[in-house]
Amino acid sequence: MEQDLISKKDLLDEKGISYGQLYRWKRKQLIPEEWFIRKSTFTGQETFFPKDLILTRIDKIMNMKDDLSLDELADKFSPLLPEYEMRKVDLLKRNIVSPVVIERFASGDADGVVYTFDKLLYFYVVDKLLQAGEMSMEEGERLLQTLRDHFPKFDGKPCDLIFIRKMGVSSFALLSVPADLYYESGVKLIARVSMSECIEQLKGKWV
């Protein structure tokens, strides 16, 4: 899976931002270090970015920078789990996770139970894949278990969730990014979800 890249120069031209702004955002950790990809070209070393990621990120920064300070923005984009918590009833009330998921995976918990951000994140990811119609309920159960077992091991480092199926047998994996992954023939990649992206989306629901 070759990533689509955009050079620094093209990025600045396309978005109409200056070098100073780009470096400033990098200093404020609005743009993660691992997106700066150095490659040699015929003009010497050049910096490239993963195209889709950087374009959406720049759009978000440009849209939000009038309302929020750069430091507040940095918190939003940080891959670290924030200390947000939410009660089960609020979770349903604010429609963050669909009732079906709660019913199936959290029916044992009392309404007043408080979930930490990582618990919420797991529900959110499961819900996301279920809603996309890509995953069955049974698989959801296994996904939840995979996330519980292995996601904390990444300890804030960015990672992707891989969901593959071969001959009807599905499996999940978590891998740290950036990484290239190649499959044997017959394997179908059903979904690759960036956990950092999910964290960002979920954080966005708090405002």
Partner: protein
């Protein structure tokens, strides 16, 4: 950080101490800290070594200072020599002497008087350089940069004649920024919005957006105006 009530670390003379969290750290003489340190302030006079990372609010160093890991400070004032093996991060840094950074450098406001070497990317908000020796970085990315040569004494001239390493100029492959004002700089590529090239410069390629002024004594390979 301000209200931290931890122990202070005081070294007078020659001594070693363990790492950890401290309120104030003050080292006069030859002090070595084994391990990483976090402190509210860090005041060092003499020879100081930190075998680990250093995170502090305010760093004031006179003499020789060495950090084996990363250095993060809100405000730092360096007189003398400093060597950091990892990356350096600071809001404000004023340095007088020789600075040697093994990784990247991220500083909001950077005033440098003397000589420096940054192995990685030097990323600063505002940067003012007065070179007395050689300045070297792989790449510089800034909002604004000003490079000047400090006035040179007869002895300084003699030194740089004998040892070219001491000749006060900036060497870098790429400089990118909004406001760029250079003198005595050797660069492959300079990309910016407003670019001023002063005397003693040798630049391979300049890409500018709004304004370019070149001193007649500067050597320029190619000039390109980009954008609308």
């Amino acid at each position: 950080m301000e209200t931290f009530n931890g122990p202070d670390l005081l070294i007078n003379g020659v001594s070693k101490a363990g790492g950890g969290e401290y309120g104030k750290v003050k080292i006069d003489g030859v002090g070595t800290v084994e391990g990483s340190v976090a402190s509210v302030t860090f005041d060092a006079n003499g020879i100081t070594k930190v075998h680990g990372d250093l995170i502090t609010g305010e760093l004031d160093s006179d003499g020789i200072f060495r950090v084996d890991g990363l250095l993060t400070a809100r405000k730092m004032k360096i007189d003398g020599k400093m060597k950091v093996k990892g990356s350096l991060k600071a809001d404000y840094c004023s340095a007088n002497g020789i600075l040697n950074i093994g990784g990247d450098c991220e500083i909001e406001q950077f005033d440098m008087h003397g000589a420096f070497e940054v192995q990685g990317l030097l990323n600063a908000g505002r940067m003012e350089l007065k070179l007395q020796g050689r300045g070297k970085a792989r790449e510089i990315g800034v909002e604004s940069i000003q490079v000047r040569q400090a006035s040179r004494s007869v002895w300084g001239k003699l030194w740089s004649w004998m040892l070219p390493k001491f000749s006060p100029e900036l060497q870098v492959t790429v400089i990118e920024g909004d406001d760029i004002d250079l003198e005595y700089t050797e660069a492959d590529i300079v990309r910016g919005n407003r670019v001023l090239i002063g005397k003693g410069c040798s630049i391979g390629l300049i890409e500018y957006r709004t304004e370019l002024k070149v001193h007649p004594g500067a050597k320029i390979g190619k000039e390109v105006k980009t954008g609308g």
